[in-house]
């Protein structure tokens, strides 16, 4: 029995040692640019604070290389859904200086300030940016969403 415990202890000790080494290697290795949590937020205020916008894939998951629909939800600061907004979308990969492979646009209004954005496609992993220009009764504003794949 005692020898079994020695094994377990030794195992735990070695695992800790390995974890330490791995952590050291990992921390010193060059890292891909990381974005702070707020920058990849799926929900944020528009540039001039006119709206609160959130942007997420309609089916919950992002799939590389596939055309997908996303939902853009627009509310006022008071939480009232924004209706009848005109939305234009542009974007690309800032680190590679190329644009979007498709031209996504709002295809349906789903009520409650929710707009279906069709034709969103990310062809490679990395940082993508989507710029939205939004015009509604309250005025015009813009918002940028970062999507990291």
């Amino acid at each position: 029995m005692a020898s079994l415990w020695r094994y377990v202890l030794a195992g735990v000790g070695l695992a800790a040692l390995l974890a330490g080494i791995l952590a050291a290697v990992h921390l010193t290795a060059p890292q891909a640019p990381r974005l702070a949590g707020s920058e990849i937020a799926r929900s944020k205020e528009t540039a001039n604070g006119l709206f609160v916008a959130s942007f997420e894939p309609e089916r919950g998951v992002v799939r590389q290389g596939e055309l997908q629909s996303w939902l853009l939800t627009l509310k006022t600061n008071a939480g009232t859904p924004v209706e009848g907004a005109a939305i234009t979308i542009s974007g690309g990969m800032p680190q590679h200086r190329h644009g979007l492979p498709t031209s996504p646009h709002a295809t349906d209004y789903l009520g409650q300030g929710r707009y279906r954005i069709g034709g969103v496609k990310f062809t490679m992993s990395g940082l993508w940016q989507l710029h939205f220009a939004i015009s509604a009764a309250a005025g015009s504003d813009t918002v940028v969403f970062n999507v990291v794949l």
Binding site: S3, R6, Y7, A10, G11, L14, L18, I21, H26, A29, P30, A32, G65, L67, H96, R97, H98, G99, L100, P101, T102, S103, P104, H105, G118, G119, K121, T123, M124, S125
Partner: protein
């Protein structure tokens, strides 16, 4: 024996430690890749290729009899204006379905290089400029192109009825009555063919177009079976993924090839466009490849947008099977913008090393020239190149070429 004696004398703890230490040391002997590099390498392996998606616009896409008829038609020179040219004249089965020429030669001389076909059914756009949006619509273009097969759709409908009537009808249903259809007629042909086409009733035109579209659907069903092959790189990637070390000389990559791989996915940025298991993002990019002197201006993707929109066989057209939900690529296509000028479809790099020349008009005759082009990154004659000059040594150049060769053996 001394060794085993000593070994048994060590207590169990030390033995365990020694084993682990050996494992760690063995690990250190392997090529070192960061986690991000490993992830990228895994994404390039053939094993990451998803199964071919259904093509709902072609309900015969996965019907074996259609693929068999398509194979016959692909190799049939009877399907041409002069009876001498088939798809396989340019897309040679023993040459990765291309012809090793800078520019293809059919009934006449074309201005573009023949594209290899492995894995082509995974794409959304076809031709160097993507002027067709389905594999079956693509197949109709060379059949009527005066420089390629140089025939016309009325003649093809008659030919199918005479030669393959029974096979056709078993797949597609009854052939239409063609007795009053002119022998040669097409809305795209020469003056005589156009005139003949204009004498036909709408129903006759529709009948001929339907047979013509079905020729494309049969050929597309065949082309879906042309798949990319496992390469040395894939065996290496699989070994790296499982952690089982490759045998030297087989799955292993040399240190030069590993340097090339690291450059490809790192400093040289190749993987930006040549991504995924086919080494292509399926998109269009201006890479500053110079035009060939003496050829008419070629503006790439920007001119293809109108052509695919105008194609009666496109996804929005009357010959699509299934519903329009399959037409997302056409619906959300980028239609304008400076980035489309002289943008061409990123080619797959699988097998590229053994099928020079390169680029849309065969501008470069070796991989060395290709890498030198990327390293220098000249400005584009029109539009803006997305390529930026690289600081590569001679050793780096050779390494990139060496790596590309692992994708062709």
């Amino acid at each position: 024996m001394w060794c085993s004696e000593r070994w048994s004398k060590l207590n169990r703890f030390s033995r365990l430690f020694a084993l682990l230490a050996m494992a760690v040391l063995a690990g250190c002997g392997k090529p070192e890749f960061s986690d991000a590099e490993r992830k990228t390498i895994a994404s390039l392996a053939l094993s990451a290729l998803p199964p071919l998606k259904d093509d709902t616009t072609n309900r015969f896409a996965d019907v074996p009899a259609a693929a068999a008829l398509g194979a016959t038609l692909f190799f049939d020179a009877g399907l041409s204006g002069d009876g001498k040219v088939s798809c396989s004249t340019c897309h040679k089965i023993d040459r990765q379905f291309q012809d090793d020429l800078p520019r293809a030669v059919g009934v006449g001389r074309t201005n573009r290089r023949t594209m290899p076909l492995a894995g082509v059914a995974h794409d959304s756009w076809f031709f160097w400029d993507g002027r067709r949006d389905s594999l079956w619509a693509q197949a109709l273009a060379p059949l009527e192109n005066p420089l390629e097969q140089a025939g016309n759709r009325a003649a093809y409908a008659h030919y199918i009825k005479a030669r393959f009537g029974e096979r056709y009808e078993r797949i597609f249903g009854p052939l239409p009555d063609l007795s009053n259809v002119p022998a040669n007629a097409s809305p795209l042909g020469g003056d005589a063919e156009k005139a003949a086409w204009s004498t036909m009733t709408d129903a006759q035109a529709e009948d001929v177009n339907r047979v013509f579209a079905n020729i494309g659907k049969a050929i597309a069903a065949f082309e879906r079976s042309i798949a990319p092959q496992q390469t040395r790189f894939d065996r290496f990637a699989a070994a790296l993924d499982t952690g089982i070390q490759a045998l030297p000389g087989d799955d292993a990559l040399s240190s030069e090839e590993i340097l090339g791989l690291k450059l490809f996915i790192g400093k040289a940025n190749c993987v930006t466009c040549h991504s995924g298991p086919r080494f292509t993002d399926g998109g269009f990019h201006n890479t500053g490849v110079p035009p060939v002197k003496g050829l008419p201006p070629d503006r790439g993707r920007i001119d293809a947008v109108r052509q695919v929109e105008a194609d009666p066989f496109n996804c929005f057209g009357a010959f699509r099977d299934g519903d329009a939900s399959a037409c997302g690529e056409l619906r959300f296509m980028v239609k304008a913008g400076p980035e489309l000028v002289r943008a061409y479809k990123t080619p797959s790099l699988r097998g590229a090393a053994t099928r020079a020349p390169y680029m849309h008009a065969g501008q470069f005759s070796s991989l060395e020239e290709v890498v030198a082009h990327y390293s220098k990154a000249p400005a584009s004659v029109e539009g803006v190149s997305e390529i930026h000059p690289l600081q590569l040594s001679d050793r780096d150049h050779a390494a990139l070429v060496a790596f590309l060769k692992t994708l062709a053996e």
